[in-house]
Symmetry: C2
Subunit: 282 residues, 2 copies
């Protein structure tokens, strides 16, 4: 491998591709669940791939991790107990723990090797793993949510890979029913919801499954994410009651720094472009 | 070429790549200025490349063309005379002409072959070329602006390729001075300003050149654009006076449909993410 090698992820469902110039393959492990690879890129720091799909780069992961956590935590009135399903790179966990009000954050990823690789190649994402409020489990997230105590959680964040392979069961009614049951009445579910440019049908189907599980209100928030297909991604929030009351004043006064998230960015993301809004209400 | 071929643009300055799955190469022409290629993709319609760089796809060009035109035209108090430098695919011209108040829109692209290719492979972008308010020139945009009558224009849109090759002279003080002189006191200059994720230095340098030319107020608006490097792009507005007064009520009541642009999207784009805002003010 020379310094002019390019590493591509060809995203078949959309016929589009994302790539980075890479210098070296640093590591590779075949876990019981998936193949995890680490590359050193020339401009994006380290890159983690799972089964050939770009997961995280050192340079751009802040976009995803901030948007998977802060909008939900600044919408819930007082989030104390948070569960992250997936999220083995620990980046979402780190963002969740920036909220002083959070009393416990459980991260449940099926694949321990993802976290071991993150500790080694993305240590900054794991810097809060020793926080006494953090609990890191390596277990089946579907089973974990099925066993979770009824009405015990404030926020559930589903920080999963694409809905194929190990993550397929994280996008259907049965799983969302477990989340619905485990959440308190004012609880919020967040799911990464793929590209709003090309996967609107998936977002719509996912919101429909959430609806069948009992959730009544949805909010899909788009954000840029260069290492994911099309470079434009989204998360979707779901709750039991009506409306999402954004704690804007608290977001403005947040006691921690963010690079992409801000109260204004959060507000802006709440209004979808016409073509997205139309597709989701059709 | 089979249906499983992938066409990549490796963007060297950022070490990132964008690609599409393509079915056939439809056309290729070497003009006096650049090589223009047209591919048929499997999911993105036709794709135009200039010197190997993705310019336009059927599917996603609305993002760029709407954001290059409507924010400026809904910020200027009453845009009547508009000049587009570059923009040979005619997509920006079409968006500009949606504004009933526009009396004349001149498009001045150096390369006639870009427009000929657009007429053939992106006919929808050229549907307003016959509008009596449209004037399509094939000439050097730098010379055109240098000769433009002082104080004659309301909006100048620089819809150029990357600042290398033929477009290099569209990013410097001398060109911006011509624009400044040709614009009325309340005129607005808009320039496509590359990726706010990786090319912040370029945006900053470009704003500095605009400042040397006399412009005092700047507004960089990000938007998604899958076919450009990182999938996240921007335009930058510049004006002589202070502040940008967005005609929000007019944008809400606009007499034409848009797919990405809306008054809310425009408002949202006005607040930059912290990492962009910080880099531009540093």
């Amino acid at each position: 491998m020379t310094s002019s090698d390019w590493l591509y992820e060809n995203f078949e469902p959309a016929g589009s591709s994302i790539g980075f110039r890479v210098r070296a393959r640093l590591d590779e492990v075949q876990s019981p669940f998936q193949k995890i690879e680490i590359f050193e890129s020339t401009d994006w720091g380290n890159v983690m791939l799972i089964d050939g799909a770009m997961m995280v780069t050192t340079r751009d992961n802040f976009l995803y991790h901030e948007m998977m956590s802060h909008p939900a935590l600044f919408t819930h009135p007082d989030p104390k107990r948070v569960v992250i399903i997936g999220g083995g790179d620990c980046g979402t966990l780190r963002e969740v723990l920036r909220h002083p009000g959070v009393e416990q954050a459980v991260q449940c990823d099926i694949d321990e090797q993802v976290t071991r690789m993150a500790e080694k190649y993305f240590p900054e994402l794991c810097e809060s793993n020793g926080d006494p409020r953090a609990r890191i489990l390596f277990d089946d997230g579907i089973a974990y949510m099925a066993k979770a105590a009824t009405g015990s959680l404030d926020v559930v964040i589903v920080d999963s890979t694409d809905p194929v392979g190990p993550a397929e069961g994280l996008f259907n009614k049965a799983f969302f029913e477990s989340c619905f049951r485990a959440l308190k009445d004012d609880g919020i579910l967040v799911q990464q919801s793929e590209s709003p440019l090309v996967l609107l049908d998936l977002i719509k189907a996912m919101r429909a499954e959430m609806g069948k599980a009992g959730f009544t209100t949805f909010q899909t928030l788009p954000f840029p994410q260069p290492c994911y297909p099309t470079g434009w991604w989204s998360c979707t929030l779901a709750r039991k009651g009506q409306g999402f009351e954004f704690r804007e004043a608290d977001a403005r006064a947040k006691p921690f720094a963010t690079k992409y998230y801000s109260a204004e960015i959060h507000k802006g993301a709440q209004t979808l472009p016409p073509f997205v809004a139309e597709a989701l209400t059709r």
